[in-house]
């Protein structure tokens, strides 16, 4: 089930909210667990068993690790292997086979396997839990229903943010419900929904048109590159907003996942602002255990490259994701070792342009179906592949999408946030906000009712 669907908005959510707030506090976790399992079952009926299996095994090993310090390392390794084996099989098996096949004369048949929705997200949550129990950062959860509720919690189950157990363990036991928190949740949810439906989906249509166009031009390549960059951001951050908003409606406080990444002044800064829950996961569970940056330069380079190859692979079992990860890894190494001091001296506008161009190219790699298309889409930006500067078609689509692109660019910057912080504006904003949210909700619903183009990009991860 996707958040931007009629089924979720006007069937699932009102029923779950109503039951949740009508039952006594001690039953709230159980209601959330049942609702979350139904939510997952609705979209992924068969593979719910995989999630339940990994929850049960991780629960058992969590308790074993805590109880038996002698063998705890073995238990940790077994638990990690169980979790990773599901991920490896369902996500990477065909990637591995097709790469082995390149060297074989007798090819191995590919396996007919579908990626279970959200497996990359909940596997990482379970890994963080079991590692934190091992490290003594938290106690093992003794109540399996509570652990299951944490993993399957529907607001963040299928596309993050990757909420860590240590961050919400207190909230699992006791949550605060206030009018302010609920209203804040509604606000975040509606804004996220609008980002997804009104910006990301509409730009997705432009990207589809670009993909099948036979009359490409430099202008069209730029339109694509910008639309692609905005679509990925609005799709994913919109989902995170909805997740955080829903979390608040049910009394949770999830950590932020995005912090205006397109105003970053360096690639290092960008990754502090983009998919924060994922980059901090890799930092805490891979990079730092490898020694982080408190090692020799060579080891530092090795650590960065390992983390970024893995980050790339986490996004998908294709070589373009590996290249995408390496692209960032290498840039981060260059920045850390040489460029940082120069970038810091640059005017902010220039350093931001530097980041935007790098990120734009990175997302062309990210979205490209194969190396030829990726190269064509990058070369097209400067017209190397001999396309005209402008065509009637690209001009048409520029005129048709320019307002949405401008809205997208403005929405990527903290302009509204700054305006809302002006003291004298508070009264006016308080009047406008409910009306604005109502209009956004109405318009988003109208787009959902009318449209059929509604994929969530991060569902495939």
């Amino acid at each position: 089930m996707v958040f931007s669907s009629i089924t979720f908005l006007f069937y699932f959510l009102p029923i779950v909210l109503a039951i949740y707030y009508l039952v006594p506090n001690k039953l709230k976790n159980t209601i959330l667990l049942i609702a979350s399992l139904l939510f997952y079952f609705y979209g992924e009926p068969k593979y719910i068993l995989i999630m339940i299996t990994t929850i049960i095994t991780t629960y058992i090993f969590g308790i074993l690790i805590e109880k038996n310090s002698k063998y705890k390392q073995i238990y940790l390794i077994i638990s990690i292997l169980i979790n990773l084996s599901f991920l490896l099989y369902f996500k990477y098996i065909n990637f591995i086979i097709s790469n082995i096949n390149m060297w074989l004369t007798h090819k191995i048949d590919l396996i007919n396997v579908i990626l279970p929705i959200g497996i990359s997200f909940y596997t990482f949550q379970l890994l963080s839990y079991i590692i934190d129990v091992y490290k003594g950062r938290t106690l093992a959860q003794k109540n399996i229903l509570k652990l299951a509720m944490y993993v399957s919690l529907f607001p963040q189950l299928i596309a993050g943010p990757i909420v860590r157990y240590v961050d919400i363990q207190k909230q699992i036991e006791k949550r605060e419900y206030t009018l302010e928190k609920f209203a804040l949740g509604v606000r975040r949810f509606i804004i996220g929904l609008s980002k997804k439906v009104l910006i990301a989906n509409v730009l997705g249509e432009l990207i589809q048109v670009f993909g099948v166009s036979n009359e490409k031009s430099v202008l069209f390549y730029w339109l694509y590159a910008i639309a692609n960059m905005l679509q990925i951001y609005f799709d994913f951050s919109g989902y995170s907003d909805m997740a955080i908003g829903l979390g608040k409606m049910f009394g949770f406080d999830f950590l932020e996942n995005f912090n205006y990444p397109y105003i970053a002044t360096s690639i290092t800064d960008f990754w502090r602002r983009w998919h924060i829950s994922l980059s901090s996961w890799f930092r805490d569970y891979i990079y730092i255990p490898l020694g982080g940056n408190r090692v020799s330069k060579i080891k530092f380079v090795r650590n960065i490259l390992i983390v970024w190859i893995l980050t790339g692979l986490w996004h998908g079992a294709e070589w373009n994701f590996v290249v995408w990860g390496l692209f960032f890894g290498i840039l981060l190494i260059i920045e850390k070792l040489f460029l940082e001091k120069y970038i810091n001296k640059l005017p902010k506008a220039l350093s931001r342009i530097y980041v935007l161009i790098i990120v734009m190219i990175s997302f062309i790699i990210f979205s490209g179906e194969n190396i030829n298309i990726i190269m064509e889409n990058i070369q097209g930006l400067v017209g190397i592949n001999g396309v005209p500067l402008i065509t009637k078609e690209s001009l048409y689509y520029l005129k048709s999408y320019i307002i949405i692109i401008i809205v997208g660019i403005i929405g990527s910057m903290p302009i509204m946030k700054k305006v809302s912080e002006i003291k004298n504006m508070k009264k006016l904003i308080n009047i406008i906000e409910p009306i604005f949210l109502l209009i956004l909700f109405l318009v988003s619903t109208s787009y959902i009712v009318d449209g059929s183009f509604n994929p969530f990009l991060y569902f495939r991860f």
Partner: protein
């Protein structure tokens, strides 16, 4: 306004909307068809174990909730308004409105599809029609006549070039100069029957038929016509009127539908009472093969008209020249099966297809 009041309004408002819409959706009666979109709406899915496990129930329920959503038509109008008036998008779902007329972007020219369509016509010619009088004409979609150059149009010159190179053995009838924008419905793809004088004159001239320009017709209005684009755009424009051109010859004609094996009239006044598409008044709408027999005819000549839906409204106006016209729509019947139904002898043959059909690969 204080923060507390604002939070109260947002919270209560949101919950109220969710629950009200949920209840209204539950109690509102499901509709069978959407008149504005001219299609059947999804019904509540049946639940079986296998459908539940393979995800079919979820998918069907998604379609059902969207199709049967309360105020669906009004919300589609909101979307249309926002996308064209706020976001200033040039089209909404490829449709746009100009001077109270609705157009659909037919772009780009899909050369591959055009070639496939034309080769299927050529195959029919090679298989059945050698040594017969075979003609073809292409009907431009109405975008061709749209003067405003802002919108994307398919490359019509390229289409003509491909057509003439593949169908070079057939006689070409150029009707592009015989039509204009007002000869098409404002809310639909089709041409208006009452505006086809120039097209008929051109076809008769090229096919060496008698000129029937002076034939007397009575033009009868059959009410408002909400064309196929009307509901798709979700925007209010005035409806068209639909007319039929009739006279004694046409009134005395008998049609025979090879699929339903039923006889009928040229203008089906019954079907438009139930059909969501009033254009079905012409020969009862889409069907693989239908013939019109002219009982008043002084000639034994026959015409085989390979056609799409545009042919339904044109064929009655050619009947003065023939004893029988057989309309064949190879979108609904494979051309390999035609010899089971048609006795190919010395009939006149006319292929009449719109650019819209040629640009898709839908001929069988």
């Amino acid at each position: 306004m204080q923060d507390k009041l604002k939070n109260y309004i947002i919270t209560v408002g949101f919950i109220f909307i969710l629950i009200m819409v949920f209840i209204l959706n539950l109690i509102s009666k499901d509709k069978d068809i959407s008149i504005s979109e001219r299609r059947r709406l999804a019904k509540i899915p049946s639940i079986t174990f296998s459908k539940l496990i393979n995800g079919d129930t979820s998918n069907e329920f998604e379609n059902y909730t969207v199709d049967q959503f309360i105020a669906r038509d009004e919300l589609r109008k909101v979307k249309s308004f926002v996308s064209t008036n706020i976001f200033m998008q040039k089209d909404n779902n490829k449709l746009f409105e100009k001077d109270n007329a609705i157009y659909k972007i037919e772009y780009p020219l899909n050369e591959n599809n055009v070639q496939k369509s034309l080769n299927k016509i050529k195959n029919i010619y090679n298989k059945y029609l050698h040594n017969m009088n075979v003609y073809y004409a292409i009907i431009p979609d109405k975008n061709y006549y749209l003067e405003n150059d802002d919108y994307l149009k398919m490359n019509y010159n390229e289409l003509k070039d491909i057509t003439q190179s593949i169908l070079k053995d057939l006689n070409y009838i150029d009707i592009w100069q015989s039509l204009d924008l007002e000869d098409y419905y404002r809310t639909d793809t089709h041409w208006k029957q009452e505006n086809l004088d120039k097209v008929i004159e051109k076809i008769e001239k090229e096919m060496k038929l008698d000129n029937t320009l002076n034939t007397k017709y009575k033009i009868e209005e059959k009410g408002n016509y909400y064309g196929v684009y009307y509901g798709q755009l979700g925007k209010q424009v005035p409806p068209d009127k639909i007319y039929i051109k009739t006279n004694d010859t046409i009134n005395n004609c008998i049609t025979y539908n090879y699929e339903t094996k039923k006889y009928g009239k040229v203008y089906d006044e019954e079907i438009i009472k139930t059909s969501v598409d009033k254009y079905d008044i012409y020969l009862s709408g889409a069907t693989p093969i239908i013939s019109i027999e002219n009982l008043n005819s002084n000639t034994d000549k026959e015409l085989l008209l390979f056609r799409d839906s545009f042919g339904s409204s044109l064929a009655p106006l050619l009947i003065e020249n023939y004893k029988k016209i057989t309309l064949i729509d190879t979108r609904y019947i494979s051309s390999n099966l035609l010899e089971n139904y048609i006795d190919f002898k010395n009939q006149d043959v006319l292929f009449l297809y719109s650019t819209l059909v040629l640009n898709q690969d839908i001929l069988k």
